[in-house]
Symmetry: C2
Subunit: 413 residues, 2 copies
């Protein structure tokens, strides 16, 4: 809506290689606007293993319900993603729309509806006219190509100011495998525009249960540790597919996530998820600075994460960052309101390498000028030592600017 | 900081009558700035019953610690409030400052330090030089007058754009009693400026335990149901004093909060607390509109309140209100993220009297123009029926505007 690319955008984009076993195509189906690319189809040449994690919202969208229902089958042949309409809070009509879309995709691909996964982003509460997909999906299935990752990432953008892509490689039992991923999202949510969606595909041969375990472990320190505005979409979707094409190179199928042959793959996957998650937060609506909040010395890791999120979601901390103000009093406030165990007289706080508070007081050696210099950077590291235990967590957020208010205060359009 | 009075300010202020048994005075002690009124002293002619509720922060200020320590004594003779310095996160120096201040006040009044209550608002983490109170408190004790409520309310303002006063009367056993209150606060917190403080005094004769029970019950639907920015001060303080002067008119002392003679008093107190709490939210930093969020049909009252707070604290709901956008999709989102039981297909949502969503879908009869007309008002009622039980709660907030970001993004000064 602002028309300009986030100042935190990557300087260069990853070269996205083709990935064996998956093809993609996009189309303009006129879901909300004419002549705007609004449908992405992803096709797997052979049945792929599938894993997914979804919004914790108690009011999930119809496509999220659909995916959750199909996930236990463990097999994917097609994914259909649309923008322009979230198909959320659309009641029976919404369920009917997902059924029709899955049916059309299954027919186009020649698979079962249980092997079709769906995601939608856009306005909430408007019925989605699934008949618009009807002719489109056949054509997409016929025209899909392997070398299409960057286009696919662009196709799912909404208020994103840049496409989000990442690629990694690893070895499983001596066989090289690749992982490609795309993501979209610019607020953690703005239901009419900025749901978080991400699709990751590997050519490794990994069984669905192992894939699900890898994804669930990988999402915690990555996508579940970024926050733009503390709001949670009805539609957040992160899916991981394994085409198994590397079996052709002799990679033996891995059935168990704890299998040591997955060590390198796990590291590469986690790194890719972190890369995509940070790209999302760096495109946070109105963001000018990225904030990295690390909490150490908490009672346990979960407590550390809750304290870190309390800091990262505090409007007063986020506006202070926007104002380049090393306002550590607001960090104390956010620790205090988290509800977690903290002892004022043991707290220490750093901005970058500058310790501003220690043992419940301002650090006598602290130089305001040095702290301000940290705040003038593009990435602001805030570190808090609670001094009670060994719990540790890092979360990522962005500053809260007038542009955020402007973007989200505009009338739905 | 913006210099202009909130558009939601009251059109007229209550005429504040003198209240028997309490006197007040203010001074400029130069705590942070020269020639700025920064100390309020409140004196009770005879020992008053005292009740208090304080911030839930795990990192409370030194004055909050001091008050909590003295509260079990149940008796107050003096209150000293300063602005310019919160005496929070000041370690041993902070405790020493409260000790010195209480000592000076006790000497000036001729009472025990255990009968002195303190509150501070201002910057966090700066040592408070208590010697600045030294000569001042003697003079204040000597010059305090009864007819000083409006001046007292002005003296404790920080980023407030108007003083907050309220008065009520009631009868206890046929004897007329009065209740006067003042408050300050403009963000739920901005540690360097806008802590919430409120002091309420009655001339009724009520025992400390009964007073505490009345206050704790009264604060829940009032001060604990308003939120500006979801942030919680290290210093929030609400105290209620009973001078007992009405005993001179024959009011028999009430020992038990459940005593039916307190029914009228309780209603008047609750009404006064609600009045003051709404004045605080209507002076929310950058506020242009007040939002009244009512949740009905939740599993229970506590669940209703958590859902209502999830809506009231959502940056996306608050920016939509600022933009006069009847964006009920964001209300659905906020219900969904609250974590409380909700069933999408039973939800109904109203803006004012306009039902915009029902049974998990947009209300087919809903007129966007009518909903927009509601959003253009000064007070925006949002009502959600969860459709599951009989839990009910109302919370109050304001919109999130660029001015909020501006006020809080400015450098500490």
């Amino acid at each position: 809506m602002s028309g300009s690319v986030s100042p935190l955008a990557p300087k260069t984009f990853a070269e996205m290689p083709a990935l064996r076993g998956v093809r993609m195509a996009t189309a303009a189906a006129g879901i909300k606007y004419k002549n705007r690319t609004d449908v992405l189809m992803m096709l797997f040449d052979r049945p792929a293993s599938v894993a997914g994690v979804f919004t914790r919202s108690k009011c999930p969208s119809a496509p999220v319900d659909h995916c959750r229902q199909n996930l236990p089958g463990g097999i994917a042949r097609a994914v259909v993603v649309n923008s322009g309409n979230a198909n959320a809070f659309t009641g029976k009509k919404g369920r009917e729309a997902t059924r029709l879309t899955a049916e059309a995709a299954a027919k186009a691909v020649g698979c079962s509806e249980a092997e079709v996964f769906l995601a939608s982003t856009g306005v909430i509460g408007e019925p989605l006219d699934a008949t618009k997909f009807a002719g489109v999906l056949d054509k997409l299935a016929a025209s899909a190509t392997q070398d299409f990752w960057f286009e696919a990432a662009k196709a799912i953008m909404t208020t994103d100011t840049y496409p989000k892509v990442a690629t990694r490689s690893a070895e499983i039992g001596g066989v090289k495998v690749a992982i490609n991923g795309i993501a979209k999202g610019a607020g953690m949510i703005a239901p009419d525009m900025a749901t978080m969606l991400s699709f990751v595909v590997t050519d490794a041969d990994i069984a669905p249960a192992a894939l699900q375990a890898l994804l669930q472990a990988g999402v915690e320190p990555t996508f579940n540790s970024v926050t733009v505005d503390s709001d949670t979409s009805t539609s957040d979707t992160l899916m991981l597919f394994a085409t198994g094409a590397a079996a052709g190179d002799g990679q033996a199928k891995v059935e168990d996530a704890a299998d040591p042959r997955l060590d390198g793959f796990r590291a590469a996957l986690d790194d890719l998820l972190r890369d995509l998650a940070l790209q999302v937060v760096r495109d946070g609506e109105g963001a000018r600075k990225m904030v990295e909040v690390t909490v150490e010395g908490a009672e346990n890791d979960a407590a550390a994460k809750r304290i870190a999120l309390s800091i990262a979601n505090s409007p007063l901390v986020k506006t202070a960052v926007a104002g380049e103000d090393a306002n550590w009093g607001r960090v104390v406030m956010a620790v205090g309101k988290s509800g977690e165990m903290a002892e004022r007289d043991r707290l220490a706080i750093w901005f970058g390498d500058i310790r501003v508070a220690v043992e419940g007081e301002r650090d006598p050696a602290y130089s305001e000028a040095a702290a301000t210099a940290v705040m003038q950077g593009e990435t602001i590291p805030i570190r808090v030592d609670i001094g009670l235990g060994s719990g540790r967590a890092t979360v990522y957020t962005c500053d809260l600017t007038k542009e955020y208010v402007e973007i989200n205060g505009d009338y739905r359009s």
